[in-house]
């Protein structure tokens, strides 16, 4: 448990670093604040419309695939603790092979249907 106290204190140190650096910057840096410098950058021309726009559906297909594989990976890590157990032997191997195999078939299917192409 005490290790996480240090993790917490390191996090705090990082936040402190950011806050102090910003405080130092506000002491040193100039404040001109002309309104024109606060406009959105669009290669030198006046910005058209808003920056927040609708976007392509392909992003969420990737997100779905990622969630599937991330959950898969989470199940892999505890396996590391028991894989060497001689009582379990090849049983765990076969079980994980089935588990990953199904997901792999899913990935192949997604690739075949063209979901892994960017454009």
């Amino acid at each position: 448990m005490s290790a996480y106290v240090i993790v917490g204190s390191v996090t705090l140190a990082g936040i402190l670093l950011f806050v102090l650096a910003m405080a130092a910057r506000s002491l040193v840096a100039p404040r001109v604040g002309r309104p024109v410098t606060l406009t959105t950058y669009e290669s030198g021309v006046d910005p058209i419309g808003q920056g927040w726009a609708q976007t392509n559906v392909r992003y969420f297909v990737y997100a779905f695939l990622y969630v599937i594989f991330a959950v898969d990976a989470v199940y892999l890590f505890p396996w590391a603790y028991v894989i060497g157990d001689p009582e379990l032997g090849p049983v765990s191997l076969v079980e994980i092979a089935v588990f990953i195999g199904i997901i792999l078939i899913g990935l192949l299917h997604a690739a075949r249907r063209g979901l892994l192409r960017w454009v």
């Binding site: 959105t40 976007t55 894989i83 792999l104 960017w118």
Partner: protein, 322 residues
């Protein structure tokens, strides 16, 4: 170190040590990049700041950055825009705290530290996403979306490569992995090592995987609206990332502190092994043209993920068979 009750002084000292490493090592890597890139491209790199071969260039850069006006675009989501650099930077600091560099030298000896490092470094990429979204700029949004897709694509092979090493060692602790390491791993875990290296460079959005930033097409991606100190923090995060992944590579695949020398040189071995990896990451940037966005996705899903899964199967079969 777990189980021991720590005094406040010790907690502060350990945090300060991590912070010191975090502030010094990225600068060394940054300076190395300046000089290595310079010489690889037939020029000198910085030569004036500080006198000797421009050693103080990054200090001078820092002084310049801190004197710049802090701009938040009127259209931006103010609060998110302002904290995004911290969100990119702090997770790398936290991740560094759990990496062992010497027998018994680890700031926070967390159980399952291999998993913890992956989690912490994964959070950092949220900083880029938040920056891309909060800027309310079209280039930033496209860059942010690209970095999201890149994170999703390359986080997987990275996690699978680490999982392979964990399976081989039979533990999730980085210290345990170093203890279990033997030179045979250089061959046996080679595919995982290559996948890890490529995925790490992609996670850092460094060339040849810098499509989210792609200065030739979307200005500077998520960083388009950033300047001054906030931009500097994004840069620092990138170099801290190089340090973290180089040391992690040394710990996972090269045996960390183990080497043919007296025990007290352990930390030196860790640094000696991490240094060529950092050099390699810089070299990749100079040597290769960047991948197009669709090629980049293709490489991850149809190249690295199958290789990583194959390595996982190989590792598991060998571990069970022996």
């Amino acid at each position: 170190m777990t189980g021991l009750d720590l005094t406040v002084v010790e907690i502060v000292l350990r945090s300060a040590a991590v912070l010191a490493a975090f502030l010094v090592l990225p600068l060394l890597v940054g300076q190395m990049e300046h000089k290595v890139m310079g010489h690889m491209q037939g020029r000198l790199g910085p030569m004036y700041a500080g006198g000797f071969h421009g050693w103080a260039q990054l200090v001078a850069d820092g002084v310049k950055f801190i004197q710049k006006e802090d701009l938040t675009p009127a259209a931006a989501d103010r609060r998110l825009f302002r904290i995004a650099p911290a969100l990119a930077l702090v997770p790398y600091l936290v991740a560094m705290a759990v990496v062992p560099v010497h027998p018994g030298w680890v700031a926070a000896d967390v159980p399952a530290s291999a998993l913890f490092v992956l989690v912490a470094s994964g959070v950092s990429i949220l900083g880029m996403l938040v920056a891309g979204w909060a800027s309310a700029n079209k280039y930033s949004l496209i860059g942010g979306m690209r970095s999201a897709a890149q994170l999703l694509a390359y986080e997987l092979p990275l996690v699978l490569a680490v999982a392979s090493v964990c399976l081989a060692a039979g533990t999730l602790s980085l210290t345990g992995i170093i203890d279990a390491w033997s030179p045979v791993w250089l061959l046996w875990q080679l595919p995982a090592a290559l996948v890890f290296l490529v995925a790490a460079v992609a996670e850092l959005n460094r060339p040849p995987f810098d499509m989210p930033i792609a200065d030739a097409e979307i200005v500077m991606g998520p960083f388009t609206e950033y300047g001054g100190l906030r931009f500097a923090f994004f840069l620092l995060a990138e170099y801290a990332g190089i340090v973290l992944f180089s040391v992690l590579f040394a710990v996972l695949f090269l045996g960390g502190w183990r080497g043919p020398a007296p025990a007290w040189t352990g930390w030196l071995w860790t640094l000696l092994k991490a240094l060529p990896v950092a050099f390699l990451i810089i070299w990749m940037r100079v040597a290769w043209p960047r991948l197009r966005e669709d090629q980049l996705q293709r490489l991850a899903w149809l190249g690295l993920v199958p290789v990583a899964l194959g390595q996982l199967a190989l590792t598991a079969v060998v571990v069970v068979a022996l």
